[in-house]
């Protein structure tokens, strides 16, 4: 379709509304070039304007939304989506620094050179007066189980060209932490030093243990007899099974602390394991249990909601 359709409104009305859409798109592009938040870091006013422009562009370019807007079913404000995170927000916080530029700071002056010079990330950084180049850093992502993260483990990561790098996961590592393996990146060029390997560790959730800082949380199912009479119940910990002494008359939700059975702390020692009791009844009504409790109910009054703030 060419621009002639502009001057023939009758044809235009039966054709798809291409010229109008093209004009809307053009207008959007012009505004986006001016207002895109990644091109205007730190300018909140432009970011807000861009959000509104994007919302109205979405509205105008979606025929269904457009119809509902024209019919008054939605207004332009309802188009606004939750605040979006633009790239620069991530780039300025990314701990892996994969996208940091590799230029030097020496020309910025003595202070910046001293403060930031040594931190320029590897890659194409050239050593002065020669073409020796440091190899590229490599970034790996490794999934480990919570048990491996808590106890420590020996693992390997696969290289894209084959072969593997061995590494040791230190006991107690937290989700998202990155390990640096010096010299395990790509080889240097012309006798330059190799880059480093960075391994970001993702800790997968466990079926029973939940980590909470230095503590480990565990839900322990308990029979009504155990809760009433007290019991010694085996519970799993990261260094094997221990027997937990549940005192007589323990309520559901009671939290018991196993000292030193939590996550290893970096400075030595360990957190605790916090065991939450969950009373579990038999899956089907049990006549004997019902009878015993009916007898108990008749003779002993106990109001579990005495002193409860919810009794209003």
């Amino acid at each position: 379709m060419n621009n002639k359709t502009h001057s023939i409104p009758i044809i235009c009305s039966v054709l798809p509304k291409r010229p109008l859409r093209t004009r809307i798109k053009k207008a959007y592009r012009q505004l986006a070039k001016k207002l895109h938040p990644d091109l205007n870091p730190g300018d909140a006013a432009k970011a807000e304007q861009f959000g509104r422009v994007t919302a109205s562009y979405d509205l105008l370019s979606d025929p269904e939304k457009r119809r509902r807007f024209d019919a008054g079913e939605i207004d332009a404000n309802q188009q606004e989506r939750p605040e979006r995170q633009y790239y620069r927000t991530h780039a300025e916080a990314d701990p892996s620094a994969r996208y940091e530029f590799e230029g030097g700071y020496d020309d910025l002056g003595e202070f910046f050179s001293r403060a930031f010079g040594g931190r320029a990330s590897a890659g194409s950084r050239q050593e002065r007066g020669s073409m020796r180049m440091r190899g590229e850093d490599r970034h790996f992502h490794l999934q480990v189980s919570l048990i491996e993260a808590l106890s420590g483990a020996k693992k390997t990561v696969g290289l894209p060209e084959g072969g593997r790098i061995a590494l040791t996961i230190p006991a107690g590592i937290e989700d998202g932490k990155t390990l640096r393996l010096s010299g395990k990146g790509a080889p240097g060029v012309n006798g330059g030093p190799p880059g480093d390997a960075y391994v970001r560790v993702e800790v997968l959730p466990d079926a029973v243990f939940v980590r909470d800082g230095d503590d480990i949380l565990l839900d322990l199912p308990l029979g009504i007899d155990e809760a009433v009479l007290g019991a010694s119940v085996p519970v799993p910990t990261i260094d094997g099974r221990v027997n937990l002494k549940v005192p007589a008359s323990s309520s559901s939700g009671k939290v018991m602390r196993l000292k030193g059975k939590g996550a290893p702390k970096s400075g030595g020692g360990a957190g605790d394991m916090l065991v939450t009791l969950k009373i579990v009844l038999p899956p089907k009504p049990d006549p004997a249990l019902e009878e015993a409790l009916r007898a108990w109910q008749g003779e002993h009054g106990f109001d579990p909601r005495a002193g409860w703030k919810g009794g209003r």
Binding site: H90, E92, F112
Partner: protein, 111 residues
């Protein structure tokens, strides 16, 4: 931590095709971590891909110019990151240090 495969990235960014994603990876416009089963994208990679889509689809940046634009943006965000680090370092110092530095910066004739 949110980690995504190629398929999950394509689901999250409607306007990105599998072919364009491959181009972004092979030209190292985006550098995902190397996972055991192929590239592992995080939220930073996702936002960067979203930005690349907007640059090429909305802002009419052609493919030859994409690395130039990304490089300048990386330089800007690295410098902003350093500025934030400097700001944090100065804020950790006493008020007298901050006042002295600000006075020197404001005295300085504009270059």
């Amino acid at each position: 931590m949110i980690i995504m495969t190629k398929t999950q990235v394509l689901e999250r960014i409607g306007r990105l095709s599998a072919e364009r994603l491959e181009i972004c990876i092979t030209r190292t416009w985006v550098k995902p971590h190397q996972g055991e089963r192929g590239p592992a994208f995080d939220e930073t990679d996702l936002a960067r891909l979203q930005l690349i889509v907007e640059l090429t689809e909305d802002l009419e940046v052609n493919d030859e110019a994409v690395p130039v634009v990304l490089r300048l943006m990386d330089e800007l965000s690295t410098l902003r990151r350093r500025m934030k680090a400097l700001d944090a370092a100065l804020n950790a110092e006493g008020e007298d240090v901050r006042t002295a530095v600000i006075a020197r910066l404001q005295d300085r004739p504009k270059a």
